[in-house]
């Protein structure tokens, strides 16, 4: 089977709304699965998914409403839900505001990747309504990722840091 045939098959499957397809022929095995995993069945998920909102990315520059309304344009859910790996804790923003990694523009960041932090240590500042809110660590561990750049807006629940917690 060449690429052209494969494309045609995929085209047909799409038209016919086929979600599972397996074909075995001499020395060839083709298996195609589409949409949500067969096992799980999130009745609402496929229905709702296209209506998932564009969220933070649009903070950068407004997304045209027309584009939003087009089903094709809203594939990816934009909220960075960023499932933490096992043992890694995600520090999420508890408030809406502007994220700062340094106490003032000339200072070094509160924490950086590779740093070991202790409970209660200030990780960053989020400015909200002219107030500088210090965000403190609730676990001790190593900073493995900084999700945002300093000066960026963050909404409630946005991932800020990943911390590999000490055991």
């Amino acid at each position: 089977m060449d690429l052209k045939e494969l494309k045609e098959i995929l085209q047909i499957l799409e038209e016919k709304e086929i979600t599972d397809f397996e074909l075995e022929e001499e020395g060839m095995k083709l298996r195609i699965r589409k949409g949500p995993a067969a096992s799980a069945n999130h009745a609402s998920a496929p229905i709702l998914a296209p209506l998932v909102a564009s969220v933070l990315p649009s903070l950068g520059g407004p997304v045209s409403a027309a584009a939003q309304a087009s089903p094709a344009a809203v594939g990816a859910a934009a909220t960075p839900t960023a499932e933490a790996e096992p043992g890694v804790t995600l520090v999420k923003s508890p408030i809406v505001g502007t994220f700062y990694r340094t106490p003032d523009p000339s200072a070094p960041p509160f924490v950086d990747v590779g740093d070991h932090i202790r409970v209660g240590q200030v990780l960053c500042i989020i400015e909200a309504m002219k107030l500088m809110n210090e965000i403190e660590a609730e676990v001790a561990g190593e900073v493995v990722k900084v999700h945002r750049e300093s000066g960026q807006p963050v909404q409630y629940g946005d991932a800020l840091f990943s911390i590999r917690a000490d055991r």
Partner: protein
């Protein structure tokens, strides 16, 4: 004009404001709680910011989060919708301080109208009729008798600390006053720990009729006529209409002028509603002023052809009203049924996922809703799922349209009160316009409350 408006609300009213902004070419920012990440207001706004967890107090009532969201998105105005922070003088003040326009009246007007006794006094001074009553707590039987004579029977005795009907006594004739006064006192003492009682004229079979006003920053105030909202259940409106079949043209002019006077007395700006209690003789008394757009504004839009939410935004941006009083013409009749996610018999809320939906269309039907197939009706927020409005050349045409519209409302997965509305549309009293605030108690007597009167 504003460049970008943040809508500090959710559900259908958030969408309603988005529609108005889109029509005006203004960008929109939705805010949402974690429970509403899938909401249509999030999807259809130009931007959206998650402001907190599902509980109101941490999200939709969270002023710092909302102001922050406006700041990080560069919104230059906030529309509060209704409910939530819409009557928060504090939010209006903070907006002022942060150079964000609050789309509503000034904090002083909000605060004054929010304080019922100050509002009453201000209105009295402005010549707006309020329900006659004792100036304060009645000292004794003699004071009560004197006051009742002045006001005229029937009167109602109310516990000063009261509420919910307890400690209330309707007195229809002078000889009954003394025993009733003593009974009310001891009931008040027993229920609330204080025997203080005051007295008001009792309005039998009152109607709830309200006047929509709109005021600009140039001092122009226009009324857009009345809405009849007597079909209520526990003080929650469930059906509204315009015009009221009880209100004559002359009465509309008088009530309208009174509402305009009320608004002018507090230097009111933006959309507001003056609620009146109306007795069967047509006397009307100021109850309160709602300093926001209301759920039922759509019926006024249908009969006047004016877009109240766009007007709110334009007025907030400093534009003069787009109409003068003489431009307001009422045509036809509009009805609104609030489709709530609740059991139509027990009124128990029925949150859940709407698995399949059908909504009516065709001539004379307007629907304002956040619902769509697969959407969740959240248990965290109020049960209003859709506002189903119909419009017709006259009341019978809008009723006929409401009937056939209700017949085809399908919302599988939740219960709604659509069947209740459907039954009301066949009720002889409703059809004859024989309405008062006790209508629902008569319509569903098994649900009648212990309370005597309370309206």
């Amino acid at each position: 004009m504003f460049k970008k408006i943040l809508i500090a609300n959710r559900g259908e009213i958030a969408l309603r404001v988005i529609w108005a902004c889109k029509e005006l070419g203004v960008k929109t920012v939705a805010v949402y709680s974690e429970a509403d990440a899938q909401g249509l207001h999030v999807r259809f706004a130009d931007q959206a910011v998650c402001i907190g967890p599902p509980r109101n107090i941490e999200s939709y009532l969270n002023i710092p989060a909302i102001i922050s969201a406006a700041e990080i998105t560069g919104a230059d105005a906030i529309h509060p919708g209704y409910g939530f922070l819409s009557e928060s003088a504090y939010l209006a003040e903070i907006c002022e301080a942060c150079n964000i326009r609050f789309i509503g009246p000034g904090p002083q007007a909000i605060r004054l109208m929010g304080d019922k006794s100050r509002a009453r006094k201000t209105m009295q001074k402005a010549g707006v009729p309020v329900i006659p009553g004792s100036p304060g707590v009645l000292e004794d039987e003699a004071a009560a008798a004197k006051c009742a004579r002045e006001i005229g029977f029937p009167v109602i005795l109310k516990a000063s600390a009261g509420g919910g009907g307890r400690g209330m006594r309707v007195v229809r004739a002078a000889p009954d006053l003394e025993p009733a006064f003593r009974a009310a006192q001891s009931e008040a003492q027993a229920a609330f720990g204080v025997p203080d009682v005051y007295l008001e004229r009792y309005v039998d079979r009152p109607r709830h009729i309200e006047i929509q006003v709109m005021a600009d920053t140039k001092g122009q105030v226009v009324h857009l006529g009345e809405r009849e909202c007597s079909v209520q259940r526990r003080h929650q409106k469930i059906i509204e209409e315009a015009p009221s079949s009880f209100v004559t043209e002359k009465m509309r002019r008088r009530m309208g002028q009174t509402a305009v006077d009320a608004a002018k007395a507090v230097q009111y700006v933006n959309a507001g509603t003056v609620e009146f209690l109306v007795d069967p003789a047509g006397n009307f008394y100021f109850m309160e002023m709602n300093t926001r757009i209301q759920v039922e504004h759509g019926v006024t839009e249908l009969v006047t052809g004016r877009d109240l939410v766009k007007e709110q935004i334009l007025v907030s941006a400093g534009e003069p009203l787009s109409f003068a009083q003489k431009d307001i013409v009422w045509t036809g009749h509009a009805l609104e049924c609030r489709i709530n996610a609740e059991d139509p018999e027990t009124f128990v809320p029925s949150p859940g996922v709407i698995r399949h939906m059908n909504l009516p269309g065709g001539p004379g039907v307007r629907i304002d809703t956040y619902a769509h197939d697969g959407c969740e009706v959240s248990p965290y927020y109020d049960s209003l799922v859709a506002k189903l409005m119909t419009y017709g050349r006259d009341r019978m045409e809008s009723v006929a349209r409401m009937r056939r519209a209700l017949d085809v409302v399908v919302m599988e997965g939740i219960k709604t009160n659509a069947p209740l509305h459907r039954r009301i549309m066949d009720d002889p009293d409703f059809l004859a316009g024989r309405l008062d605030t006790h209508f629902m108690e008569r319509f569903q007597p098994q649900k009648k409350k212990a309370a005597i009167a309370a309206s």
